[in-house]
C-alpha cells in the first residue's frame, strides 16, 4: 500500500471564475441577453386570434392545441415534432462537426444560466480574489450577509425561470395571478417548484459537474470531432518554445530576450485558468471538461494586447492547423453531409406546415364485420369518418363517393354536417352496393368531403369496399 489512502470519491473544488472582457465575452453576453429576452418575455406577447387564446405562444395541453403565432398545431401534427427534433439533432451535428462544442459554449441553458449565476456572485461578492477570501474566511456578519444575498438572488432567478416555464402552458397573466393566489393547478406548482430547485442546484451549485458528469451531449459531441474541427486550443509551439513557459522577469521581458533564452510567449500569468468556468487549464490540451466557451481566448488576448504581442496564443484552431497544415478546412464531406440532411429536414418541415389543410378528413373501414348483406341483396361496408375543423370559423361539409359506380353513401342524419370552429367529430358512413357491379372483390374508392364555401379545398380519403364472391 502506498502511504496515501486512495479516495474513491472526490469532492467538488469550488471554482471562482474571474471576469474577462473581449470579443467572445461580448458574443456570449449578446446571446445571453437575446435568449433571456425571448424566454422571459415570450409568454407575455399578445396575439390577435379570431378564435382561441390571445397569447402568441401557448401550449394548451387540455385543449390539445399548440399555438405558435399564426400556426395552430394539432395532435395529429405530432410528426412535426419529429421533424423539429431531427433538425435540432442535425444542427447540433453540423455545428459540432464544423466548430466543435459551440452549443455547449454559447447556447446551452446550463452555460447561460451558470453565466448569470456567476455574474450575480461577482456582483455581490466581488472579483475572484474577494470571493476566494470570502469562502475561506470564518463565518461572520459580512460572510452571512453576502452569501445569503447571493443565494437569495439565485433563488429569485431560479423561481422566475420555473415560473416563466409554467406560463407557456396557460394564459400567462391570469395564470400568474392564480399562481400567486394559490388557485393554480397542482401541476403548475409542482413544475415551478421542480424547475426552481433544478435551476438553483444546477446553475448555482453543480455547474461544471453537470457538463462533466451528467450531460450526455457533452460526451457524444466528441464523436463528431475530427482533425479539422475547430477547437479552443493553446498554441504550445509558440507558448512553450524550447525551454517552456516562463513568468516575466528580469532579462526575459521582451520577445527578443525570451527568444534568446528559449522561453515561449506564455508568461504563465494564469489568467486563462482563472477565467475558466470549468476550472481547467487549456494549456494541457483538449479536455473533456472544456465546453469551448472561449473565455480563455479573451483572457489571453487581453494579456497579449497589453504586452504588445501577437494575439492568438490561445485561439480557435484545429488539430491539423496546429500541426502547421495551413488553415482549418471548413468545407468537408462530413460537414456537407450534415448540412444537406439539415436543409432537407427543414425543407420537408416547412413544406409540411404549408400543406396543412384548414380541416382534416380521415376514413377507416370497419373491419368487424368487414361487410354485411342487406335485405335487397346489396352488400354494405361501414366506415369510421373523422373530421376536424382547424379553422376559427364554422364549416359545412357534405360527403359523397367517387370511383364506386352505383354505390350509395348513407350518413344517417349527417349527410350535411356543420362543424363548429375547432370541432372534431366522428361519424359513421355506410356504403351500400350490389356486388354484381364490382369489378373486384376489394375495390378501392374515395370518400369526398366537400365544403360549401368554394374557397376551401375539397378533401378526399381513399378506402376500400369489400364484397364476398357471390
Amino acid at each position: 500500500m502506498s502511504e496515501h489512502q486512495a479516495k474513491l470519491y472526490a469532492s467538488r473544488t469550488n471554482i471562482f471564475p474571474r471576469s474577462v472582457k473581449g470579443v467572445f465575452r461580448n458574443i456570449k453576453t449578446a446571446i445571453l441577453v437575446l435568449a433571456y429576452g425571448i424566454y422571459f418575455l415570450l409568454p407575455w406577447l399578445r396575439w390577435e386570434r379570431e378564435n382561441g387564446p390571445s397569447q402568441a405562444v401557448l401550449f394548451d395541453l387540455v385543449g390539445r392545441k399548440f399555438y405558435l403565432f399564426d400556426l395552430v398545431v394539432h395532435p395529429q401534427d405530432i410528426f412535426w415534432l419529429a421533424g423539429i427534433l431531427i433538425i435540432f439533432a442535425y444542427l447540433l451535428f453540423f455545428v459540432t462537426g464544423l466548430a466543435g462544442r459551440v452549443f455547449c459554449g454559447y447556447f446551452c441553458f446550463q452555460t447561460l444560466w451558470t453565466d448569470v449565476f456567476i455574474y450575480i456572485e461577482y456582483w455581490v461578492q466581488g472579483e475572484r480574489p474577494a470571493r476566494i477570501r470570502l469562502a475561506k474566511q470564518n463565518w461572520n456578519l459580512e460572510k452571512i450577509r453576502k452569501l445569503s444575498i447571493t443565494h437569495l438572488l439565485w433563488l429569485m432567478v431560479a423561481f422566475s425561470t420555473g415560473m416563466t416555464f409554467v406560463l407557456y402552458w396557460g394564459d400567462a397573466p391570469s395564470l400568474l395571478v392564480d399562481f400567486m393566489r394559490g388557485e393554480a393547478p397542482f401541476a403548475a406548482y409542482a413544475t415551478a417548484f421542480f424547475l426552481t430547485a433544478t435551476t438553483y442546484v444546477m446553475a448555482g451549485i453543480a455547474r461544471e459537474q453537470v457538463c462533466t458528469y451528467m450531460c450526455p451531449y457533452s460526451r457524444f459531441q466528441s464523436v463528431m470531432f475530427d482533425k479539422d474541427t475547430l477547437i479552443v486550443s493553446y498554441d504550445a509551439l509558440r507558448g512553450e518554445a524550447r525551454e517552456g513557459r516562463h513568468k516575466l522577469g528580469a532579462g526575459c521581458k521582451t520577445e527578443e530576450e525570451r527568444a534568446q533564452q528559449g522561453y515561449g510567449d506564455c508568461i504563465d500569468c494564469g489568467y486563462c485558468v482563472q477565467v475558466c468556468p470549468t476550472g481547467i487549464d487549456i494549456r494541457n490540451g483538449l479536455q473533456i471538461q472544456c465546453v469551448s466557451c472561449a473565455l480563455c481566448i479573451d483572457a489571453c488576448n487581453t494579456i497579449m494586447d497589453s504586452m504588445g504581442w501577437r494575439r492568438g496564443l490561445v485561439g480557435y484552431t484545429s488539430e491539423q492547423a496546429q500541426k502547421g497544415k495551413a488553415k482549418p478546412r471548413l468545407i468537408r464531406p462530413k460537414v456537407l453531409g450534415y448540412a444537406s440532411v439539415l436543409v432537407l429536414a427543414i425543407g420537408l418541415l416547412v413544406w409540411s406546415i404549408r400543406q396543412q389543410a384548414p380541416f382534416d378528413l380521415s376514413v377507416s373501414q370497419v373491419r368487424q364485420p368487414i361487410f354485411v348483406r342487406l335485405s335487397d341483396g346489396r352488400v354494405q361496408n361501414s366506415y369510421e369518418i373523422k373530421i376536424n375543423n382547424k379553422m376559427s370559423r364554422p364549416i359545412e361539409l357534405s360527403f359523397s363517393l367517387q370511383g364506386l359506380e352505383g354505390a350509395e353513401l348513407d350518413m344517417g342524419a349527417f349527410e350535411q354536417i356543420r362543424l363548429e370552429p375547432q370541432q372534431r367529430l366522428r361519424l359513421t358512413g355506410r356504403v351500400k352496393m350490389h356486388p354484381s357491379g364490382l369489378a373486384r372483390q376489394n375495390q378501392s374508392f374515395v370518400i369526398v368531403a366537400a365544403p360549401q364555401s368554394a374557397e376551401l379545398p375539397t378533401l378526399q380519403y381513399s378506402s376500400a369496399f369489400y364484397a364476398p364472391k357471390s
Partner: protein, 307 residues
C-alpha cells in the same frame, strides 16, 4: 504513463499486481454518492407509504390510502393499491366527472335528439361499445355480427325481426325476446315440407321448382300450414311475432346464402320448417342500468342505421 506515475500526477488505488501493475484512480464526484444515498432514502420513505414487503401470505400495507364508494354506496377506505386508486380516479377524477356530466346530458336527451347530434351519438357509441362487448358480444359477436349464421341475429344488416326503431330496440334489450316457430314436422309430411321450402325460397327470388312451389303456396296460405298467420300472406313477416321477412335476401336461421345448389338450400329450409325455431334473448333491465340500455340502443341502432 510511467512518467506520470513517477511524478505522482496520477493517483493510484494503491493496489499492485505482479509487482508493477497498478490501478489508476479516477474518483467519482462525491455528489454521486449522495445521490445514491438519496435514492436509498427515497426507497425507505416509499416502503412506509406504499405496499412494499411480503410477510408470509400478507404484506406491509403502507400508510397511503385510497377512498372510493362501493356498489352499495358506502365509502370504503383501504390501503393504497392501484385498483382502488383507479376506482377513486374514476369516481372523483376531473375527466371522470366530465364524462359523468355529459352522460347526464345524454340520458336527459331523447333518442331523436341524440341521433341528430353527432357529438352525443359518438359519445354514446364509444361508451356502448364496451357495454356491448361485455354483455352482448358473446352471442351477437363483436361488432354485432355473429360468426355463424343461424344461431343469433345479425345486428348489422337492415333486417329486423322485432323492429328497428329506437323504441323497439330498447324494448328488445330491456325485456328480452322469445323467438318461437313451431316444429311443422309433426303436422306436415316430408313431401309437404319440401313443397313449402320451395315456395319459401321462391319468395325471395331463388330459382325453384314451380310445381312444388305452387303446392307449397297452398300449404303456406291455407289452414294446413298456417304460416301466413305470422309471416303474413305476402311473406314479409310480423314484428309483433318476431316472424322473419321471407321475401328479402337475408336468412337469419338457415344459411341459404352460403349454398349454391337448390338441393342444399331446400334441405336447410326444410330442416327449419321441420324442427321449428326456439330462440331466446334474455331481458337486460335487471342487469344493466337504464342509461346503459339507452346507450346500447343508440349503438345497436347505429350498427345498421336502424329504421
Amino acid at each position: 504513463m510511467a512518467e506520470q506515475l513517477q511524478n505522482k500526477a496520477v493517483q493510484t488505488t494503491g493496489h499492485a499486481w505482479d509487482g508493477d501493475l497498478q490501478e489508476f484512480n479516477n474518483p467519482l464526484p462525491s455528489w454521486w454518492l449522495w445521490a445514491f444515498y438519496a435514492s436509498v432514502l427515497f426507497a425507505l420513505v416509499y416502503w412506509v407509504l406504499f405496499p412494499a414487503w411480503p410477510i408470509g401470505s400478507d404484506y406491509t400495507k403502507g400508510l397511503a390510502t385510497a377512498t372510493f364508494k362501493n356498489d352499495q354506496g358506502e365509502e370504503v377506505t383501504m390501503g393504497w393499491n392501484s385498483r382502488a386508486a383507479f376506482i377513486q380516479e374514476m369516481q372523483e377524477g376531473g375527466d371522470a366527472l366530465k364524462q359523468k356530466a355529459y352522460l347526464q346530458k345524454v340520458s336527459a336527451a331523447s333518442y331523436d335528439e341524440i341521433s341528430r347530434d353527432p357529438e352525443m351519438t359518438a359519445f354514446a357509441e364509444s361508451l356502448a361499445k364496451v357495454v356491448f362487448a361485455d354483455n352482448c358480444a358473446a352471442c351477437h359477436g363483436i361488432g354485432g355480427t355473429p360468426p355463424i349464421v343461424g344461431l343469433y341475429p345479425n345486428l348489422r344488416d337492415d333486417d329486423w325481426l322485432w323492429g328497428g326503431t329506437f323504441g323497439q330496440i330498447e324494448h328488445t334489450i330491456s325485456q328480452g325476446r322469445i323467438g318461437f316457430m313451431p316444429a311443422f314436422g309433426k303436422v306436415l309430411d316430408t313431401g309437404q315440407v319440401d313443397q313449402l321450402a320451395h315456395y319459401v325460397l321462391g319468395l325471395s327470388g331463388h330459382e325453384v321448382d314451380p310445381a312444388k312451389a305452387k303446392l307449397g303456396e297452398v300449404i303456406f296460405q291455407g289452414e294446413e300450414g298456417g304460416c301466413h298467420y305470422c309471416h303474413t300472406q305476402s311473406g314479409k313477416g310480423l314484428y309483433s311475432q318476431g316472424a322473419a321477412n321471407l321475401t328479402d335476401a337475408i336468412w337469419t336461421v338457415a344459411d341459404v346464402t352460403g349454398q349454391n345448389d337448390l338441393k342444399d338450400k331446400v334441405k336447410l329450409v326444410s330442416q327449419v320448417i321441420d324442427e321449428g325455431i326456439q330462440r331466446e334473448m334474455p331481458g337486460w333491465s335487471k342487469r344493466l342500468s337504464e342509461i346503459e340500455i339507452k346507450l346500447l340502443t343508440v349503438y345497436v341502432h347505429s350498427l345498421s342505421g336502424g329504421e
